[in-house]
Amino acid sequence: MQKLINLGRGTLDYIAAIGSASMMLFGALFAFPTWKNTRLMVHQMYVVGVQSLLIIIVSGLFIGMVMALQGYTILVSYGAEGSLGPMVALSLLRELGPVVTALLFAGRAGSALTAEIGLMKATEQLSSLEMMAVDPLRRVLSPRFWAGVYSMPMLALIFSAVGILGGHLVGVDWLGVDSGSYWSIMQSTVEWNEDVVNGVIKALVFALVVVWIALYKGYHCIPTSEGISKATTETVVYSSLTILGLDFVLTALMFGIS
């Protein structure tokens, strides 16, 4: 009997959580930044975008370099090292760019968002805002949400571009693949809509998911130091799992059936 009650309670809690998360998402979506709080959003873009730039550029560079090195050692045994360019470019644009950026973004920016909002809740700043008749959804959540959604695809594009340049550095400058074939075979293989735009769409979806989870976890955390730490961990874990799961679904939709 008690088990049945627990099951029912668990289900209801779960549905309620989904409900309040969706309400929050729609609240943030429709509280589109007006001119008045563009300034808030620009500041948040600095926090989530500009401050993530270093980690994105460094990891993009190294991932591109490693892929060129690994790809070269395999391709050279078939005499197909000319295909190094498309290999690096396609794997970055289609998969690694959006996915690794999203994972780093979840760790770097998502956790920070959760901790910040969680602490605002714990120190009752959010309640004070409501007391002053300022909607925390509009003032606190919406700028962060939109800043994240704008920044993530841009970070993913920078990641892919830096990675391709890193691949060029290792493949062409150090290992001696012909520069002309690196670029020209890449150009004849990579399609704008098929590869680049699909990668940006992926990044956009991941951005929505990561920022949504981060804000929800922060806004609904248990307002204690323990609760905040738990919420932060959950943000990173849930975001990462959702990114990898969604990535398979999106890849199947985009490239599976041709």
Binding site: R39, G49, S160, A161, L165, V190, E191
Partner: protein, 174 residues
Amino acid sequence: MTSRKTELLVGIFVALAIAATLLLALRVANQGMAGGGETYTLTARFDNIGGLKARSSVKVGGVIVGRVSRIYLNERDLVPMVEMEISTEYANTFPDTSSLSILTSGLLGEQFIGLKPGFIFPEDLEMIEEDKVCETSPYENCPYLTEGEEIMDTKSALVLEDLIGQFLFNQGNE
């Protein structure tokens, strides 16, 4: 003043993103040909198209002049039909005696269509000059390949299994 600095850094961030997009568009994806560009359509029937795909390139002596836009099966004869979009930069360039063959770039490379330009009779050249048959819409007598025309002279892709089969057959005869 911190706010100004923030705005500047965000501006740099957005500029970097735009630079990355431009690099991807121009250097990596080569938007030049694929983007706009007026094209005209040619069709051709093959016995076997091998590994040809939509978006494969059409080349004349290695120069890309167009792309395969559609591959479908002709329902009457059950042979593959290939539709190609050729850049209008090359309109009224290829004689209608041109031939197509499916070639492979390198040992493991992708397959593409090689277009080999044919010839034009000198009296046809005079006719183009005098009657302007290639300038207005029904191009009936135009000796060049024009919109919607079918190229008759085609060579199929080489299929390794067929080649081996033929080789064995010849060996058996000896």
